[in-house]
């Protein structure tokens, strides 16, 4: 079930693959913790996979979406692509150097690595939306209009 809050414009939607391996569950755990910390809001990938209208439309309309896949199989990314949802921000946990296995006893350090990975991806997105610096190398507050 999704929790609704008025005005989702400023929010970050986090969609973990939540798969059945250590890295799948790391994606889930990181998404839960990032939601609790107020960084963003975890949303139901299963609802999107089921092509339920409210879930799909929500993901299509959200300005910032971050998909977390445990491994390079990329289930979360593929589910989103099947639902015509563009995936601009995508983290693959094994790319962080965490090896995939079946040990579901998650390590705190690895959870933190995944959370940092998500935050770095978001920081990159924010940086890409900033206006280019002016000739002095310092950006002004005109949003590129001067």
């Amino acid at each position: 079930m999704s929790e609704s809050s008025c005005g989702s414009n400023g929010q970050i939607m986090i969609l973990p693959c939540s798969g059945g391996s250590n890295v799948g569950q790391l994606s889930n755990k990181a998404a839960v913790e990032l939601t609790k910390e107020g960084f963003g809001k975890m949303f139901c990938l299963a609802g999107i996979g089921a092509h339920l209208g409210g879930f799909v439309k929500s993901a299509q309309d959200i300005p910032t979406l971050i998909a977390i896949d445990g491994c390079s199989v990329g289930c979360a990314k593929t589910i989103l692509e099947h639902a015509q949802i563009p995936v601009k921000n995508h983290l693959v946990i094994t790319d962080l150097g965490i090896e995939k296995n079946k040990d579901l006893n998650l390590k705190e350090s690895e959870i933190n690595d995944v959370k940092q990975g998500v935050k770095k991806i978001y920081a990159k997105e924010v940086a890409s939306k900033l206006p280019p610096p002016n000739i002095m190398g310092v950006g002004c507050c005109c949003s590129g209009k001067c």
Partner: protein, 77 residues
């Protein structure tokens, strides 16, 4: 035609409801417009945020105030 505006009651939700009522009235379309403010009911539609607009069971918009033109397109299509 059945239109539902989902929102717990903030300014954005009220504005959305107002716009929907305006467009329905101006376009002279027979439609029932229902405001859904119960959070459990809203959650049942699977929307990430509000306001959201549902036309004949189809979620048309989530988390923003639609324009009058958008609303008109939904109810005329």
């Amino acid at each position: 035609m059945e239109i539902k505006v989902l929102g717990p009651g903030c300014a954005k939700c009220k504005k959305t409801e107002e716009l929907v009522m305006q467009v329905v009235s101006e376009a002279k379309i027979a439609a029932s417009v229902e405001k859904v403010s119960d959070l459990m009911q809203i959650a049942g539609y699977g929307v990430f945020g509000t306001p959201a607009v549902i036309v004949n069971g189809e979620v048309k918009c989530v988390g923003k105030i639609p324009t009058k033109q958008e609303i008109l397109n939904w109810i005329k299509s």
